[in-house]
Structure formats: structure tokens, C-alpha cells
């Protein structure tokens, strides 16, 4: 700067940001539903549920509304009875293209003024109360959607269920939703099995409907038959019994994949499936037979992540289908120069098409895990190794089996990562989560038990995680020279205390888990009980299975 020159003046605007242009209530409603009308609600309860609960969520008004609740009734019982009665009435008239008069009145009141910024919704107490009432009545109307029916219904109610089933099954392109008018790219509503009993979130306000945002993952809803009364048996086979370091190897990315990757710090690995010297299907059939001799009916077989090749899976699937037993198995498919290897779970029920779901997250192997599994000569421990799989097709299947049982299956990392799977699992609250792992022993102190405990707490799911005996034995925590304890599974549910470790005794080949139904009352934050219809699968038997003459 030359002597005597003045520094240039710094222009400071009066405001840090441009003039405020906040999202207004009406704008938000039109964003969710371009045909939104403040005087005419949609006829279908899940649509009304979505449009009522979403602004309460978006504006965070749902917590404040409880400060003046119930809005008009003297007690929670009176509110609960009213919501139940109005919901039941709605089921009977929806097909006439109308909503009950009380619902219409509440709708018009709830949206009487939509001119203000949405963030100020909590200041409009009456509107908030009406929105919550609408959401609750729609929730009551939607009881049983997506799950097998338990009670005798009226003809009108059967038509209601039929319509819900039809909407839900129209999922081929964009995933499932119960909404009739709302486009799936804006919002979706799915059946719900658990209302969280701790904390206060938007999920605390409904028993039967789940509000789901985002298209990051496609939820899929499948209906399958499981013919049992109140309990069923799962045969867990922790196959393979042996995993060797040579199965792990580094691999190249696809030609145009991540060309900026720094090979000094990052790499890809894959896990080779051993050549099929063993006839896995034959072995598992023998284990199943032994299990039947000991326990009786075995309804399903569960195998860990990457336990089978495609060929092995097809053979086993066929064999189990003939026996009327379902199969949940992790399958690995090798990649080639143009395709990633696949790491997927396949759920096969007799007489149904198979459900296939890919893993959503890549496993990252770092130094401590490389040491834990003794892979130091196979994968350089100074490099971070990412599992070389495709993660593009993100779907999460929910399998409706019984009135008290909706199950979902996760693969390894998907249990640990909060998104995109975690939010959806917490919203829907499946009764049973089966996690297929390629992991060390399933000890109470380890990560799988922590995440299982988290899901048991909220939303209340029972969680079974299963790893292979081979991986459990390969795992040697740092400093230990002992062979890992073969704890191949862990069970955690919301009602039975701490996680239960399930080990495979020496010379045994599988474990049958007897899983029984317990019911308990759940309460929504607005004070409605569910009549103790919430199902909690509970572990009520652990039976190791041994096949004479079969090696381990």
C-alpha cells in the first residue's frame, strides 16, 4: 500500500442473511401434497395421518402439544375411547368417498390458518391439538393394515383391509407405501409394529402407522405364511465351520471406479468362497433331521453372512422348500472385471419367490481387525481395506408372517449404521430383526450386542445376530493366544433382561432356538393403549444339535 493511501472500506450489510423467507405452513402442505385443501381431507386414513403428523414433526411442535393434552376430554381413557370409536367409524365409511363428520371438522380446524411460518406452529395450540387428534384417529382406523387379520371383520372393514393390501403390494418400482394420494417421492407411510416406550419422538405418537421420509432406501413389504400358533423353532447353523485367512485377498476396483483412490492408504478386499468340497445342503439337511428328532417341527433355518455360494444356496433352498422350511441365508457371488462381488441375504419361503436384499454398507477392515482375524499376511495392516461390493441397490424388506410378527433381515454393518437402515427400522419397529454377520464371537461386550440392545430399547424389536463358527474361531482379540470362544449368536429382546449369548458346544453342528410370542401393552405418547397386541418374540429354548459321525 502506498504511503497516504486509505484502506478500502469493507462493506457490511445490515443483515447477515437475505430477507427472511421462511417455509410457511401452507407451502409445506402443498409440498407434501400439491392437491392439498384446507377444507377437504383425503378419504384414506394413512394419507390423513401423513398430512397431520408431518407438520408436527417438521415444526417440532409434537412435544409442546402434550403440555395441554388431552385437548377436550377429561382423561386419557376418554380420549383413547373417542379416538378408537372415530377410527372404527372411519373404516366403515371410507369407501363412500367421505370421512366421518368429526374428522372433517377437525381437519378444517387444524388447517384453518396456514399463512404463518411453519416454525411457529407450536404457538397455535388449538391447531396442533387438532393435528395430533387427526393423526391418532387415522392411526386407530388403520389397525391391522399390512399384517394378517386376527379378528372377524365386517364387510366394510374387509374392503378397507383389501385396499390397504393392494396399495402396499404396489411396490415394484418405488418401494412400498400405504398412501393412496401422497406420492412416494414426498412421503410414505408403512405399517408399524412397535411404538417406542422410551424417549419422545414423532414415532411415540402412533401404534399402527409409521411415517417414513426419504428415498435413500426402498422399503419393501412382503407377505408370507408361517403356520404356527404362538411359537416357532429356528435352526441356526453357524456355517462355515472353518474360515481360513487365505479366503481374504485384496482386489482391484472396477476400471472406472474410484480412480482417485490412494493405494498407499486405501484398498479393496474380497472374501473368496472355498471350493465346494463339502456338500453343504446335504449336511444341513442332516442337521435339520437331527433337530426335528430332538425338538419337533423346525420352521426356519438361518445361516450367517456369506455362508453359501449361489450354487450351494439354490440346492439348499430347493431341499428345504420340499420340507416346508424357510431359509434365511447370506450368499456371496464372486465379481469379475465388470461387476462387483455381491454380498446378499436371501429369504426363501416354500411356494414363494425368493426375497433378495443386498448389503448396504461396505465392511472396513483396519489394523485392529486385521490383527484380530490374523489377516496380516493377506492385507497390509497400514491400509484401510474396504469390502468390494456394490452398494447401489438399497432395499430393506419387511416380511409380514403372523399378526404379531413382522421380521426384517440385516447384513452385518447394516445393524451398526444408523442410516439409511436404522431410521426405517426404528420407524416400523419390526418384531424380529435377524442380523447375519461375518464377525467374531457374539459376546455381550461386543458391538452387535450393543446395537441389538439399542433396537430392543427403541423401538422394542427382538434381535438375533448370527455369525459363523469359522469366523468366531478365527477371531483372536489382541494379546490373546487362545482360540476364540465359539459364541455364534446373541439374542436380545425388550422383555427378558440382558443379551443372551448362544454358543455352539464342541462336536455340535447347529442350535435350535425356540421363539415364543409374548404380548404387552404399548402406549402412545398421547395416551392410547394398543390393547396388548404388541408382540415381543422371546427366546424360550436353546437346543444344541449334534449329528453322529459328522465332522465340525
Amino acid at each position: 500500500m502506498s504511503e497516504g493511501a486509505k484502506p478500502a472500506a469493507i462493506e457490511v450489510s445490515d443483515t447477515l442473511r437475505p430477507p427472511a423467507d421462511p417455509l410457511r405452513f401452507k407451502e409445506y402442505m402443498l409440498m407434501l401434497y400439491p392437491r392439498f385443501s384446507a377444507v377437504e381431507p383425503p378419504r384414506w386414513p394413512p394419507d390423513v395421518f401423513a398430512l397431520s403428523i408431518a407438520p408436527l414433526w417438521k415444526s417440532a411442535s409434537y412435544a409442546a402439544v402434550l403440555n395441554h393434552w388431552p385437548a377436550q376430554q377429561d382423561s386419557s381413557v376418554a380420549w383413547s375411547d373417542l379416538a378408537h370409536k372415530l377410527g372404527a367409524g372411519w373404516r366403515k365409511v371410507w369407501n363412500q368417498g367421505s370421512v366421518p363428520a368429526e374428522v372433517l371438522e377437525k381437519w378444517r380446524g387444524a388447517f384453518a390458518d396456514t399463512s404463518f411460518p411453519l416454525s411457529e406452529l407450536s404457538k397455535h395450540q388449538n391447531q396442533c391439538q387438532l393435528l395430533l387428534e387427526l393423526a391418532a384417529i387415522a392411526d386407530e382406523a388403520s389397525v391391522g393394515l399390512g399384517i394378517p387379520v386376527q379378528e372377524d371383520l365386517s364387510p366394510e372393514e374387509e374392503q378397507f383391509q383389501d385396499h390397504g393390501n393392494e396399495l402396499l403390494s404396489d411396490q415394484h418400482q418405488h418401494g412400498a407405501s400405504l398412501c393412496e394420494q401422497l406420492d412416494l417421492s414426498r412421503l410414505r407411510v408403512l405399517p408399524k409394529m412397535h411404538c417406542p416406550q422410551s424417549g419422545l419422538t414423532i414415532r411415540s405418537f402412533s401404534h399402527h402407522l409409521a411415517l417414513c421420509f426419504g428415498d435413500e432406501i426402498k422399503p419393501m413389504w412382503y407377505q408370507r405364511r408361517l403356520s404356527v400358533d404362538s411359537a416357532f423353532n429356528l435352526l441356526v447353523v453357524p456355517w462355515p465351520y472353518v474360515v481360513i485367512p487365505r479366503q481374504f485377498r485384496s482386489c482391484d476396483p472396477l476400471p472406472e471406479e474410484l480412480s482417485n483412490i490412494d493405494p498407499e492408504n486405501f484398498g479393496f478386499f474380497t472374501v473368496d468362497h472355498p471350493d465346494g468340497a463339502d456338500d453343504v445342503a446335504e449336511k444341513i439337511e442332516k442337521i435339520l433331521e437331527a433337530a426335528r428328532n430332538l425338538i419337533g417341527d423346525i420352521h426356519g433355518v438361518v445361516l450367517p453372512e456369506l455362508s453359501l455360494s449361489d450354487t450351494e444356496h439354490k440346492k439348499l433352498e430347493l431341499a428345504l422348500n420340499k420340507r416346508g422350511t424357510f431359509l434365511v441365508a447370506g450368499v456371496g457371488i464372486p465379481g469379475d472385471s465388470a461387476h462387483h462381488p455381491a454380498n446378499e441375504v436371501r429369504v426363501s419361503f416354500p411356494t414363494y419367490d425368493r426375497v433378495t436384499q443386498h448389503k448396504h454398507h461396505r465392511w472396513k477392515l483396519e489394523e485392529h481387525q486385521i490383527t484380530q482375524y490374523g489377516l496380516g499376511s493377506r492385507l497390509d495392516p497400514v491400509i484401510q481395506w474396504w469390502e468390494h461390493i456394490a452398494v447401489g441397490d438399497r432395499r430393506l424388506g419387511f416380511i409380514s408372517l403372523l399378526p404379531w410378527l413382522v421380521a426384517t433381515v440385516l447384513i452385518c454393518e447394516d445393524l451398526a449404521r444408523p442410516d439409511p437402515v436404522g431410521d426405517l427400522v426404528r420407524a416400523i419397529g419390526p418384531n424380529l430383526v435377524i442380523a447375519l454377520l461375518m464377525d467374531g464371537p457374539q459376546l455381550k461386550e461386543r458391538w452387535s450386542a450393543r446395537y441389538a440392545t439399542s433396537l430392543a430399547d427403541d423401538p422394542g424389536s427382538s434381535v438375533l445376530s448370527v455369525t459363523s463358527l469359522g469366523m468366531a474361531k478365527l477371531s483372536r482379540p489382541r494379546g490373546s493366544t487362545a482360540t476364540g470362544n465359539p459364541v455364534v449368536a446373541i439374542w436380545k429382546d425388550a422383555k427378558s433382561g440382558g443379551p443372551v449369548q448362544i454358543d455352539l458346544p464342541q462336536e455340535h453342528h447347529g442350535i435350535v432356538l425356540s421363539i415364543s410370542r409374548l404380548n404387552d401393552e404399548e402406549w402412545s405418547a398421547d395416551g392410547r393403549g394398543d390393547g396388548a397386541t404388541s408382540g415381543y418374540p422371546a427366546l424360550t429354548g436353546v437346543h444344541p444339535i449334534r449329528v453322529e459321525g459328522m465332522g465340525v
Partner: protein
């Protein structure tokens, strides 16, 4: 071997469970089914398909039993404390 696709699966569950649907609706639902699932749907709505396979008859029977079983097993409040006992390991150790 019969393999029900997702539409078959949802539709047959509807037909099996909701017997009071209008006849026209039942036939519309059967019309959505794949060729292999159609005989099952027809059996479930009380029509008689031509020469249904033994497998189709068996699956229709399964759907009926599943529906009845679900209705019999209505929920009831059970003592949750029953689950608080550690499961007993049978056979070894």
C-alpha cells in the same frame, strides 16, 4: 413347482382372509394372479378351476389353515415375566 410372486402373495392373502368381499371384487383379484396362482385363487373364492394340480390344492388348503390359525390365536396379555428367566440349555454343559 409353484412359485408365488409378490402380487400373488399379497392377493392370495387378501382372498383367503377376506371372504366377505363382493363377488366382483374377488374375481378382479383372481384376475391379477399369475397363471400358476390362478387355480389357488379360484379354489379360495369357492370356484372350481379345471384340473387344479395337487400342489395348487395343497397351497389353497394351507392358506385356509393359516387364516383360521391366525384368528384362533388372538392376542392376550401374557405374563411378560415368563421371559425373564434365562433359557435352559438342553443336552450339554
Amino acid at each position: 413347482m409353484i412359485r408365488l410372486n409378490d402380487i400373488d402373495s399379497a392377493t392370495l392373502a387378501t382372498i383367503a382372509q377376506y371372504q366377505q368381499l363382493p363377488t366382483q371384487r374377488k374375481h378382479t383379484l383372481v384376475g391379477r394372479l399369475s397363471d400358476q396362482a390362478k387355480p389357488i385363487g379360484l379354489i379360495l373364492i369357492g370356484d372350481e378351476p379345471e384340473n387344479p394340480s395337487a400342489e395348487a390344492v395343497e397351497i389353497a388348503k394351507d392358506f385356509r389353515e393359516w387364516t383360521l390359525r391366525n384368528r384362533k390365536s388372538r392376542s392376550s396379555v401374557k405374563a411378560v415375566s415368563a421371559a425373564k428367566a434365562e433359557p435352559v440349555l438342553v443336552g450339554v454343559r
